[in-house]
Amino acid sequence: MSATNGLRIIKESFTNLSRNRVLTITSIFTVFLTLLLIGVFGLFLLNIAYNTNALDDMLEIKIFIVPEADIYTLNQINEKLYKDERIASIKYISQEQAFEETKKLFDKDLIDLGLGADFLPASFVVTLHNYDDADYFVETMKAMPEVYKVVYFKDSFEFTAKYSKWVQNISGTLALILAFLAIFLISNTIRLTVYSRNEEVVIMKFMGATESRIKIPFVIEGGLIGFFGAIISFIVIGFAYVKVYSAFVDSSGKDMFLTGLQLAPLKETLLMVFAGFMILGILLGIIGSLMAIRKHLKV
């Protein structure tokens, strides 16, 4: 196919889409809704994956020891924890290590403020074999006089895990329904185009146009519907992500939650969303077209 012929076919496709304007707009809107939902769901999952380490941390129980505790007391606690059969792993974080970690979170050097390692407590980070024991274990630890504080994000973890599952299920189901709806609507739009161009198809057929020459404009029409749906979805999702990103992340790029959670990087994420939307949108359009052609276009 020559470039001129290719351009002519694309022009034909645009003309036909504008002929069935209402159906074209409805189809584009459905693709837009489908991708919007897939986008929200996808971004949520992407950010969860990006923060896997932070989420794993939520399962850790952090036992902070009073800053005045000496090495003898620390050894005693360490021994006690090692003997506890409920514990799967133990990690000791000294006052110095804690100070280094804390410094990373702040722009200004803590030493400038006159603070040193001794103001932070040493801690034991433990994981359990069975988290049904977690509440009782935490209570036992809190009861120890050498323990200054016990931090356990059980509720946050359960909430996030549960929330993630719900979002996954609802978005997945809705996206699937919308994807089918989009394919159905695109298929209907193309079916009407096929009907309205019946005369043209008959002429093409008897003049000896190849099957692909007759079918390609309809496939392009479906692809264009998907393309426009994808563009609109990308603009909306992209705009929303930029807004969320700039609201939660300061100019230096560090997270503002202080929880260790971070948003997936803006540029890479938007690029991924754009590529994903384009592929999915155009694919939905082409599938819809092929369905209509297979059923209604007899060459």
């Binding site: 002519r8 005369e199 008959v202 008897f206 003049m207 000896g208």
Partner: protein
Amino acid sequence: MIILKNVTKIYKNGTEAIKDVSLAIPKGDFAFIIGPSGSGKSTLVKLIMREELATIGDVIVNGYDMGGIDRYQVPHFRRSLGVVFQDYKLLQNKTAYENIEFALQITGVNRRDIHKMVPHLLDVVGLSYKAKAYPDELSGGEQQRVALARAIANGPDLLIADEPTGNLDPKTSIGIIQLLDRINKMGTTVVVATHDSNIVNMMKKRVVILDEGKITNDKMRGQYI
């Protein structure tokens, strides 16, 4: 060239439209296929154009065996064929020139050749002065002439006209048939399915009469009685 060997066509609803028909139309011939409504002439035309396939028997057109032809070969077969319909089938949003141009474009003829061929084709059918007219600005006869120019655009070996004068007055009909005769004299085989007795009797060409799906008469200089 058209060869039909013991052809029977039974539609899905059980209607037997063609019953054991054998027929040969040699290259360069001019033949009328006539008969009353329901006689099977439209089905015969459809079998020749490969719009329908024979249930029994062989249909060979321009060297292509309709039953055995690969679907990818069908467009090539159709390029050896020109078709004219009773309702002209012109695209209303295209001018006379563009209608012919479109037919050439879809078969991949390059733009330079198209610009040479279309004025020539319009000249052959005597419509050079109406090149820029849209179908609704043309009379029935003129529209059929454009359709004829389009049908011969690819230089077909065989031209099939299905009721080409069905929507035209007698005077215009004669003009169209004379044009078909001229095309035939240029070497194209012409087959006309019609029930217009005037043009059949005037032309004194081969007449194949169909009745209830069977050939009841086949005369070289036939008459429509």
